[in-house]
Symmetry: none
Subunit: 132 residues, 4 copies
């Protein structure tokens, strides 16, 4: 139950189109079920610092099988997972990371997007994840 | 005064049973008095990201000889140990890490559990620690 | 196609018995198909430094789907893979890491063993891998 | 003078075709003139450990504006750059990394390929670099 490169390339194509429709420049990363990178693109002019963030968002979404923004809510000061970001060589816990599910609802990987507002990042990631 | 592998395996067995009773899937780590890993298991389907967190919880509990949740209270913004997580290659300071004591009350290691709510994580860790 | 915890525990049991038969004290690690840790034990009195080596041997064997000793031959000075150890946060390329295959010959994980001579390390790892 | 994503994707397409023609499964990475990742693909079934090696080969080729194999010759025991691999968070100095030049001969990035023999790795990287 692992995403294929062909699937990953289809998701990235969809995510890039959504990024252009929103007039944004994104870093887009896809990891497999083992949280290992399968495919990555950085659109021309996208923030350099978002390269690592996109990859970490994809990994974080697969590490915990949920959208990265959900972890962010639980890791605020005083909340139950405060400072969870110090694990796993660094997590990114704001929106933009989304698990990828196959037709049976099984998680086969995750997508991470970074380069604009977290709302746009999530919208692009979600569009990609749904293109499976 | 160090936990043995036989003891560690007994604790992990008890912790796994508690995890199943709570209908959870856990990563469970045991470190010795030197804070070095003695035994580890990841239950099928448990979060991948909890692998590192379970080990860090066990280490954190032994580093300071207290439950990880207690350190978490002291490391909130404005509190005395704010951002202590930056030490020791990363601490985890929410519940789920518990020191392990022998019959004389001496600390011989620690257990770290991650994979569910912090309440469940702590309950499983505590069940394991008490099985010594 | 991923090793289960039950399988990993069976392999570790077999490897421990082989280690005892050889009068050695071993660190034994099992990773899954994604190269993530599934189970680990450190036998009482085993070298502390072998903890990390056992885990890195298991990862290295899965990273390249071959025995770690084979990579070691290719990475000697003047050979084609010299200094490959600088990748992947550190590889271990002497014997003691062995891929784990299921009944169909598919690789579902790997085992890494460290704590004695490399000949003994390999013999214990191989005994474990064959217990699947 | 920087490679565009469109160019990077064209190079990856060519490199993938060459990899298939050689009956190999490759990890392929493209970095820009700043040595930052632009695009990456891991072909289905390619070695997991080659993920990091492909990226490090691309970076190494751009760090020193030469084929990685050339650096490898200079970094053998007794040679002038012995152990240069310890710099830059790890270099890979065997073949498979090639600078990418535009029509004017200016270096605009580099390609790194890993997944087979170093001869095949270099052949695929070279085919990619020439597709600019």
């Amino acid at each position: 139950m692992n995403i294929t490169l062909e699937q990953a390339e289809k998701l990235i194509k969809t995510a890039k189109e959504k990024a252009k429709a929103l007039d944004t420049k994104m870093n887009i990363a896809i990891v497999d079920a083992g949280a290992n990178l399968v495919a990555f693109v950085r659109m021309d002019g996208a923030w350099l610092g978002s390269l690592d963030i996109a990859i970490k968002k994809a990994k974080t979404a697969r590490y915990f099988d949920m959208n990265t923004g959900s972890i962010g809510e639980l890791s605020q000061p005083g909340e139950s997972l405060f400072n969870i970001e110090h694990s796993n060589n660094g997590l990114i816990t704001f929106p933009g990371g989304v698990p990828i599910k196959n037709g049976k609802g099984e998680i086969i990987g995750a997508i991470g997007v970074s380069g604009s507002s977290v709302e746009n990042d999530h919208e692009v990631a979600d569009a990609g994840a749904k293109a499976i």
